[in-house]
């Protein structure tokens, strides 16, 4: 079942179009990455999902129905720049935000104590946010976002500003929430986190959805028929054997005699032929397809080379 469906959403501001006919579907229980260069329209899309702004045209469907004010109780949103009152005490502040999301004061306090315990930050309860470091404040913000156990969590650049240890902790919390059935959308520039965490992605560039789908499928689909051969033997011999049937992109040899060569094979039909030729000239240790990283795909897509 799809928890969120965005249909032909267009949003324009006075001077520019922020989203141009964007459609995407987010399956329930998945982690969905929203990628794109700065200014592509990611934050605008997240704001539309949160009903902060309304689109000029198009629809947003939440659990199959047009999204309504009531649905915000089922959504948690953490904006890119952290929004907390600097002069307010951590505990009171968290209770305040929880109550705005419809929780009672009592429930909120009990749940918060639980989360604070989990993160080992119980003694922050009576401190002001202004006294905490940026990373510490982000932990608090994360807790206030997930506290009311929404079905859908939306994080705008969740990893920015976290040190590697806390970023890892955040990652594992996100995965744990997914395992409990929560659907998570996050926007990011951090491509390695996309590969590690995301099930699906959408790439937005210049206000348009230019690429959508399952991460593994996308990577395989956009594999560019590049292969890597590692072998023992004479580099010249391999060069000679492969000449004419494929393009040699890169060749490395080591003193220990373990050499690698990257090649581009024009058509799938040629793959067996290439292996045959190579096998007869050198001793092959491995032959594998090079699957592009999301980073490569991102850059190629944005440059229009996909």
């Amino acid at each position: 079942m799809d928890i969120l469906k965005i249909e032909n959403v267009t949003k324009s501001f006075a001077n520019h179009v922020a989203l141009d006919d964007v459609s995407l579907t987010i399956p329930e229980g998945s982690i969905y990455g929203l990628l794109g260069p700065n200014g592509a329209g990611k934050t605008t899309l997240l704001r539309i999902i949160n009903r902060i702004t309304t689109p000029n045209s198009g629809r947003v469907l939440f659990c199959g129905k047009e999204i309504s004010a009531e649905d915000i109780y089922n959504i948690g949103y953490m904006p890119e720049e952290r929004g907390l009152y600097k002069k307010m005490k951590v505990g009171e502040q968290a209770v305040f935000f929880a109550r705005l999301k419809g929780m009672s004061r009592k429930d909120a306090t009990a749940k918060l104590k639980e989360w604070f315990g989990k993160f080992g930050i119980e003694d922050w309860w009576n401190r002001e946010i202004g006294e905490l470091s940026k990373g510490m404040a982000q932990k608090v913000q994360f807790i206030t976002t997930v506290l009311h156990e929404p079905k859908l969590l939306i994080f705008d650049e969740p990893f920015s500003g976290f040190d590697p240890i806390n970023a890892n902790m955040l990652k594992s919390e996100i995965l744990a929430l997914r395992d409990k059935g929560t659907t998570i959308i996050f926007s990011t520039h951090n491509m390695s986190s996309v590969e590690e965490v995301c099930d699906h992605i959408t790439l937005i560039d210049k206000s348009r959805n230019i690429l959508s789908g399952n991460v593994d499928e996308i990577r395989h689909k956009h594999g560019a028929n590049i292969f890597e051969i590692s072998y023992r033997g004479n580099e010249e011999a391999l060069n000679g054997a492969l000449a004419g049937i494929c393009e040699i992109m890169e060749s490395k040899s080591s003193l220990a005699g373990y050499n690698t060569m990257k090649i581009h094979i024009a058509t799938d039909a040629q793959v067996r032929n290439v292996i045959d030729k190579a096998n007869s000239s050198v001793e092959i240790r491995s032959f594998s397809e090079v699957i592009p990283s999301m980073n490569d795909i991102f850059i190629r897509a944005v440059n229009g080379n996909l």
């Binding site: 704001r47 949160n50 009903r51 949103y77 705005l100 999301k101």
Partner: protein, 440 residues
Amino acid sequence: MKSKIGIIIGREFNERVRKKSFIITTLLTPLLMLGLLVAPMLLSTYSGDEQKKIAVVDDSNIIGAHLQSTDEINFIETELPIEIARKEHLEEFAILHIGKDIMSNPSDIRLYTNSTASITMEMNIATQVKMVIENIKLQQQDIENLPAIIASIQTEVNMQSFANDTSEDSGDKANSSIVATVIAYLLSFILYMFILLYGSMVMQSVIEEKNSRVLEVMVSSVRPMEMMMGKILGVASVALLQIAIWLVIILGAGYFIIPELIPDEVAMAVAMLQQGASPETLNTDTDMSLLQAIATLTDVGYLAKIVVSLVVFMTGGFLLYAALFAAVGSAVDTPQDAQQLQTPITIPIILSLFVMLSVINDPGSDLAFWFSMIPLTSPIVMMARIPYDIPTWEILVSLGILVATFIATAWAAGKIYRTGILMHGSKPSFKELWKWLRFK
């Protein structure tokens, strides 16, 4: 969606009321005001001890003997000629030289001061000399029984003023215009301060929330209009609490202290005056205007009317201006950027203060009437008129206009706010604000 406005009001109220600065200003301001009242009295009592010595060189040989030393001035006659006296009497505060021809030429008198003389002191000396000369001239007319005649001529007028209200059965109530003036001044000034202070507090706090992106987190769960109204009402309740505490302190102190200060005989006279007794029947030698002032100040009905009007007009005026301040705050990123946009808001506030000064002299004038109807100036100007018993319908009409304007303003401000809180970067122009206002 259930309204969250209560939660927001609660937060605004709690955060502000618990601040040390709030507690301190709330408790210290009445003390400070009391100090401002008492200090001049104390100062004058103490400075009275310092009597200034003035050496008098009297070439006319007429005036000098009649000059009377007072608490402030001690006249010492000297036989020295003026040139020497000016060199010798450097210890004294000043040397007064009365010329030979003073009787025919009133300008023939000079004061040489060794330090700066105050205007009151110069006036004091001049008046004394003038009276002495006049008396001597009168005596030279050779009128019989002169002192008796003068005594019988001297009169003091005690005029009482009443509100001309024939419908009331209780008789004419004396009201003191001195008290009304003081109260009018005080109240309209308090109103001015509160609107400006608490209004810009709303603006500051919107800017802060916008910068810290708190608004962005909140806007997903609360409607912008509720956020804005919650903030305004939260701050308004803080302002009302402060006023309430002040009133309790002032009225409480008045309730316990005033009866202690007033002699029984005066209190009786005041009570009779309040019940509508005409002044002639009162057997008292206390100054009539003082009696009236006390009567007005201790009139519960009058005070209640003032307090209720203060609360109502302060709330109305604050809500109106706070909505405007909130709209400005939502449109900018820094308080510096707000300067230009808030000018059109502060102008009517300051204008009301100027109008108020003229209204106090003539609360019934056309100027006073119209400015107490125009919604942006009405809270402060009306507050300056209410102590002078103006018709109730005027107060109600003014209040009605104020409430209607507030509703319209809040609606418009809400539209600007809704767009403004998500806009970062450049400072918008008035033209852009107008565009935001018309967004669907």
